[in-house]
Structures are given as structure tokens and as C-alpha cells.
Symmetry: C2
Subunit: 256 residues, 2 copies
DNA sequence: CGCAGTTTTGATTTCTGTCAACGTCTGTGG
DNA sequence: CCACAGACGTTGACAGAAATCAAAACTGCG
């Protein structure tokens, strides 16, 4: 790595007002691949940052605040840097469906990378710091990359897989299966990011988040979680969740 | 259009063994946009087909046959040319979820455009003729196009919207809403392709297809459809469906 | 004609939602 | 330090939606 490279923190302290995209890319998220490819050669052994860096101001907001709302037209691409957020779709009579949980490094909506408007409501679950990148700068930098198309394709495939799993959950799995599956998926995503050992994870979600993500009611989520606890599958204390019996939990989720 | 251009049929007679992609692109489907862009300038007023044409052999199969199965690794990209097909994901204990209905011009899986393997089972609903394009030829031709990335982005956004709608259906709508919504979506897609006036459409789906797509059982689908018929919303005869009361049907689907 | 795949219908069960009440926790302000 | 409010979690009784089970009629096709 180049000598002028600044520290790329993985943790909760990435709140400096301006940041090279690699800070985010390092977090190994869905779109991190894109950002990493864009930066290839820039942060290598060659003098760092010879090309103009893409920068963005960081914003920090408390829990339960709106980050972006549906009919909003935005010239920015927003990445979550620290904390948990959710993005959701709404239906009349107040029904809503959480479409994805956003962790450090995730872009708010992958479709939003090129499309300047969104139909999704994004809000923080914990305290969140996020960064807005200028879309045209971002796209230009991306296109300069020779295999932009391939990177895009890779991102698409990953994203597609996630959505297909959600569709399977909602269409063909029971409440227990869905919730077990969600816990396992989140544990994986956190482990990839280097948070938690996999057995004990940070778990700031409220039961209504789980409900809205899995097409259930908060009350029913509570009953399923209670049952999981009673049968020794998991344990929840404060804002952390322990997977006590991974094998059995995996079986409950009907993953083989 | 150029003088040497061959006929681009919209209908059921597009079964010549080899075909210019424009034949498919003309059908105005999801990926048609991509194919059309790729062909821009080739079929203009300049002599047609100066660039090497991408061709593919057509295959015709009867109803209820498998077109591609899950662990299959394929160097081809498959487009449906004529007929209806479905692609689905499977779960243990025989549960399955239909992920999309494929009409004339649709690519089997958008993710499959760049990814050589698929986890989806695709099968014909009616008699189907499809074409396999060589993936590397296809990608090369695509990349030659200057706004390949933009086209890709557009396709992605459209595809994403569809999937989001499905997620909303499965997560937060009742059986009635889902089925009404499905009928309206299919009517739209057929109308765009020039099939049917929108009021009366070809409808070769079996009730179990609707069930597998909307996360229901065939028995319950039957009850909902019967109720729709009794209340004068729709009528089904043979393999065609008439939307008798579009306004009310739209209301049942909770589209505004 | 017979058969396999459908559609239809009714009876019954299971799952999940709804309603309601109460307990807990956390941060706030006096 | 305590009182308070709002969000959240928990529990039980009950209602409603959809699944399951079962049987019969229909349909198209070889």
C-alpha cells in the first residue's frame, strides 16, 4: 500500500468529515466490490491518490430518523458508514415491507446507483453515520474502470441472490423458518464485516423491524423469538444476540 | 429502416432456425432495450448487418418441459421467443416459488446475462420456442456499445422494480390482492407486446402456477378466482381471461 | 376409452393476525 | 433523585386467513 494512504478503519470511528471511498470499500459489503475496483491502482504501490479522489461529507444522525424518503429526487448516492439502517416500501393502510437491512458500507439502494430517484424509505435503526457521494462523479469514476460492466454484473448477481432469498422466505417459508433464516443471514453479514465472532452478534433490531422484514406482525415475532429462547436456540440480552445452537437453528431455517 | 432488413415478426411465427437479435428486441420486453441498443446503427439507414450478426438456433418444445435446471452451467443466454414459461426456485419438501413469468422476448434470468450458472428451474407453460445466444458473443457485442453501462443500469432498475413488487405482494398483501395484482401485471405485459387489447388476454397459466408465484395453495387460488368470477370481476374461458371490471379489479389489488 | 392433469367444493385444522392489558426499560426534566 | 412519558416487550384470549384433507367432476389427449 502507498505511503500517503490514510487509515482505513473498520470500526465505529469512521466519522471524519471527508473520506476516500476505500474507507467504505474496505468494509467488504455488497457494493464494496464496485468501490474497490474503482480504486484499483490508485492506492497501490504507485503514489496514492494521483487521480482525483471522490469525497463526501459524513452525516451522523440518532436512531429512528429518516435518511431518505420516497419521492425524493437526489443527485447523491448514499452509503451507510456506521450503524444499522433499514429501507422499506409502503402500501396504503400503513402496511410496510422492509426490503433490506443496511450495515456499514452498504449503499442505500443498488438501483439508486444510477437512478436519481427512489421509492424507498430509509431510516436509521441505531445511530448512523452516512456519506453522500455525488452520483455523476461516482459514475464517471466507475466508467473509467475497464471492467465496469463486469463489476456491475457481479454486484447485480449478489444483489439478485439476496432478493431471491427474501422472495423464498416470504412466499414459501413459515414464520419460524423466516426468523431463523434472518438471524443466520445477519450473523453472516456481520461476520464478513469483522463484527462479532458469528456466535454472539450485535443485534439492535426491534421486533417490529423483524416483523416488517419478514411479512409478520410484531406480536407473532415475539412469540417465535420467545419459543426460540425457551428451546435454547438463541439468547437475546440487551442489544446482543447469541446463537446457542447453530446446527439446530440452521435446521429450523430449512437450510438443508 | 434499411432495405436489406428482414421481417421482424411480432407473432407466433418467429420460428426460423436463426434470427437477428432485433427479432427479439422488437418484442419490447425487459431486455429488449438492451438488445435494441446493441443493434442501434446496425439496422439504421446504413446497410444492414455490416457488423457480424449475433445468431442463435431456435428450439421448440411442448408445454410442461424443462428448459433449464438448477445446477446447470451454461455458456448460453436463453431468450423466450414464443409462448409462456416460468422460472422458479425450489425448497426442500417440495415447496417451490415461481420467481417470474416469461413471455416472448424475455431472457430466462437477467442475472444469467453475465453469470454462467443458475439456481433457477425454468419450464414451459405452453409450447415454447426459445433461442440460445452465445454468452461471450453477446457480452462482447454489448460492450462495444458506448452506453452499455447505462443500458445495463436501465434494465436493472426495471427488473428491480418488478422484484420489489413481488416482495410487497408476498410480504404484505392478501391472497385476493396478490391475484388481482398478478392479473393486471400480466395484462399490461401482454398489451405492451401487442397481444390482446388489455381487456381480453391469452391466459395459459394453471392455477398451480398462480399459487406457486403468489405463495398460496392451488385450492385457495381456485376459491379466490371463483369469487372474482362470481362477483363479475373477471371471466375465464378455456385459455383466455377477460377483465370485466378493470376499475374494481384495480381497487381489489390495492393499486391506489 | 382411459388416464393424468386439472378444477371445483366442502369440512376441518393450523397458522398468523388482532385486540387488549400489563410490565419493562430508557431518557428527560423537574 | 424521582416521576413521567414513550417506546418496546410479553402474554393470553380470540378471530380470521389460508392450508390441508378428501372426494368428485371435468378436460384434453394418446
Amino acid at each position: 500500500m502507498g505511503p500517503k494512504m490514510h487509515r482505513h478503519s473498520l470500526g465505529r470511528d469512521d466519522t471524519s468529515p471527508t473520506s476516500c471511498v476505500v474507507c467504505i470499500a474496505n468494509k467488504l459489503n455488497l457494493c464494496g466490490d464496485i468501490l474497490k475496483k474503482m480504486q484499483a491502482g490508485r492506492h497501490g504501490d504507485a503514489p496514492a491518490l494521483t487521480a482525483p479522489a471522490i469525497t463526501a461529507r459524513a452525516h451522523t444522525i440518532p436512531a429512528r430518523r429518516i435518511i431518505s424518503r420516497p419521492p425524493e429526487w437526489s443527485e447523491f448516492i448514499t452509503f451507510i458508514c456506521v450503524g444499522w439502517a433499514v429501507s422499506s416500501l409502503a402500501l396504503p393502510n400503513g402496511r410496510r415491507q422492509i426490503v433490506s437491512f443496511l450495515l456499514s458500507g452498504d449503499v442505500i439502494s443498488v438501483a439508486n446507483l444510477f437512478e436519481p430517484h427512489t421509492d424507498r424509505l430509509t431510516e436509521s435503526v441505531t445511530e448512523v453515520t452516512y456519506r453522500n457521494f455525488n452520483r455523476s462523479e461516482f459514475v464517471t469514476a466507475w466508467q473509467r474502470n475497464s471492467d465496469a460492466l463486469k463489476t456491475f454484473a457481479g454486484t447485480w448477481v449478489k444483489y439478485d441472490l439476496e432478493k431471491m432469498q427474501l422472495i423464498l422466505d416470504l412466499g414459501r417459508r413459515t414464520a419460524e423458518e423466516r426468523i431463523a433464516h434472518l438471524i443466520l443471514v445477519l450473523a453472516d453479514r456481520l461476520a464478513i464485516r469483522g463484527f462479532g465472532s458469528g456466535a454472539v452478534i450485535e443485534f439492535p433490531l426491534r421486533q417490529h423491524h423483524i416483523a416488517d422484514a419478514m411479512g409478520l406482525t410484531p406480536v407473532h415475532v415475539n412469540k417465535v423469538l420467545s419459543a426460540f429462547r425457551r428451546s435454547g436456540l438463541i439468547d437475546i440480552e440487551g442489544r446482543s444476540l447469541a446463537i446457542l445452537d447453530p446446527i439446530r437453528l440452521r435446521r429450523v431455517a430449512t437450510l438443508q
